[in-house]
Symmetry: C2
Subunit: 334 residues, 2 copies
């Protein structure tokens, strides 16, 4: 890749903004409800939208009970295997719901899938605003991230990369051609805090602005993004018989997401007051530190390596380029 | 009451420390588990205890599911009517459990009840450490509060008074002859934070220390306590059809528990960004601001009036005084 090359990418004509994938992560629930109301108003005024934006409340049953999920974590139900395997009448609610969402926004991996999925989440960890994606070279996601960073300089912002193949990717945002989770914290589950809600509202607005600019031909300049690629998870110390945790995050680590954790730094404090230290060999970046929903998943924190990723300049294909591309595909297929 | 009079009160020979009354308020759950372990060690060493301390995990089923409750809020099941009314086999789990706890620690209002119940709670509100009681003239509770204030000067601490009769008092701590909830936050439900856990551990330790000092004859001097008496609750603005909330706590009020709220101060921010103001006539002290569990109870915040309460000097009755008192009762009964 030449640094001064401008990469041309297909327009993003269909975008989905999803909330309530976890029913107790309330910023996304209330933001999508609000956008649904606002959308009605826009439609009444017959404003022209350069892209169609679909607002989705992903897990209404869990929302109704203000719980993460009813039977099983919906945001782990979008692997190729789960979406396409056999299913019985007694399947968990979320297994059925993931297929409905895949029919609405996908099918995952097909040309019919929406162009971009933005799935809204909250965390109890002090993570600021994070975009979480399965790729470190999806220029659309990385340029949206750069745009949000520029537009919201007061909000701490990071790009997290889960290195998982498209087939094994498990979350709702993996159904789109491009997709990411917008994860904001700290906010207790079951609570909506005005500062976190406002950051999410602004983030979604700037994301949609970027899509409109992109679709209308704006060239976005090349640059760099710090990408945090997950290396591993660490569980709480647990009692071997009861499996209950025997320690919590050390006060010197609590709320210090994305501040480098060095070998021998304090990691946990046991309930009797003892300090347990990080025994890794290399300094890594902690995140999802003391996330409520991960106690049951056996994750006290995740650790990442930081890399500086070069992002090329991009612009949307013109109509002529699009047609030439399609013809090219057609001739190849012949 | 003469200010220099020393009030003599019965010794506190049986104390209960309860956790997990709400199964997702984890500081109390893990602290009681830890104290149960420590108690085993003390018993093995055959140390003499000046008071018997009973550790209770109040709602084990809710703890197991990491939820506030299974069928209904246990901490509303201790009214005289609920404990003594008819009960069917299909009663909510917590109705049955409240009777078990009343048999263990009560019966409420009877001479057989334990002398002091300390029930451990967490809140998502920024309330520091609060003792919550049904009386503003229970000298035992108020002296324990003064002791904790002295011993833990770095922890913001308040005494909250719910003005409810003994018969209508509904919480577990009302089963003891004296009792209070120890409420500490902010901590998301389903999470344990080391700073909150440690404050609770220290609070319980100092409370037990005070009981030992009291029982061994120490005179506690007279003084003052600021008591916050609840005046009313305020609900979130809600949609008249769906009953969904349409606003959250205003950023200028969030996390400002116990800072005086004046008429026309910002109270809520609607999801579309509008500010709603406090329309009361008098300045009051907000607390339980944005508590997770109170969304379903229709409480966005509570408001209190602050009063300066004179607390007399107290000491425990001597054995001779206790016997004389009992004889006095006996003659009165004759």
């Amino acid at each position: 890749m030449e640094v001064d090359e401008v990469v041309c990418l297909p327009r993003l004509s269909r975008v989905a903004v999803c909330g309530g994938t976890h029913g107790n992560e309330l910023s996304g629930v209330y933001l999508v409800r609000e956008l649904l109301k606002a959308k009605d108003i826009v439609m009444e005024e017959e404003r022209e939208e350069p892209a169609s934006v679909l607002m989705v409340l992903a897990n209404p049953r869990a929302m109704q009970q203000c719980r993460r999920y009813v039977d099983t974590d919906l945001n782990r139900c979008f692997t190729h295997a789960t979406l396409n395997g056999p299913i019985s009448d007694s399947a968990p609610y979320e297994m059925t719901r993931s297929r409905e969402l895949n029919a609405m926004l996908g099918p995952k991996g097909s040309p019919g899938a929406v162009d971009l999925v933005c799935d809204l989440h909250n965390t109890t960890a002090n993570m600021g605003l994070c975009l979480i994606a399965y790729s470190d070279c999806d220029w659309i996601c990385l340029h949206i991230f750069k745009h949000l960073q520029r537009q919201m300089p007061d909000v701490p912002m990071r790009f997290i990369h889960f290195d998982v193949s498209s087939k094994e990717s498990y979350s709702l945002d993996s159904v789109g051609k491009h997709g990411f989770a917008m994860e904001i914290g700290p906010q207790p589950h079951g609570v909506v805090r005005s500062n976190i809600y406002t950051a999410m509202k602004d983030g979604v607005q700037h994301m949609l602005d970027w899509v409109r600019l992109f679709n209308s031909g704006t060239i976005f300049e090349a640059g760099f993004v710090d990408v945090f690629t997950i290396v591993k998870n660490i569980d709480y110390p647990r009692d071997s018989e009861t499996h209950n945790i025997t320690a919590t995050i050390h006060p010197q680590l609590q709320d210090r997401d994305f501040l480098l954790l060095h070998p021998d730094d304090a990691l946990f404090q046991t309930f009797s007051g003892e300090t347990l230290r990080y025994k890794g060999n290399e300094p890594l970046y902690p995140f999802f530190v003391n996330e409520c929903a991960y106690y049951e998943k056996g994750i006290a924190l995740s650790l990442a390596r930081k890399r500086h990723v070069v992002v090329p300049a991009i612009r949307a294909q013109t109509e002529a380029e699009r047609r030439r591309d399609q013809q090219g595909f057609a001739s190849e297929e012949e």
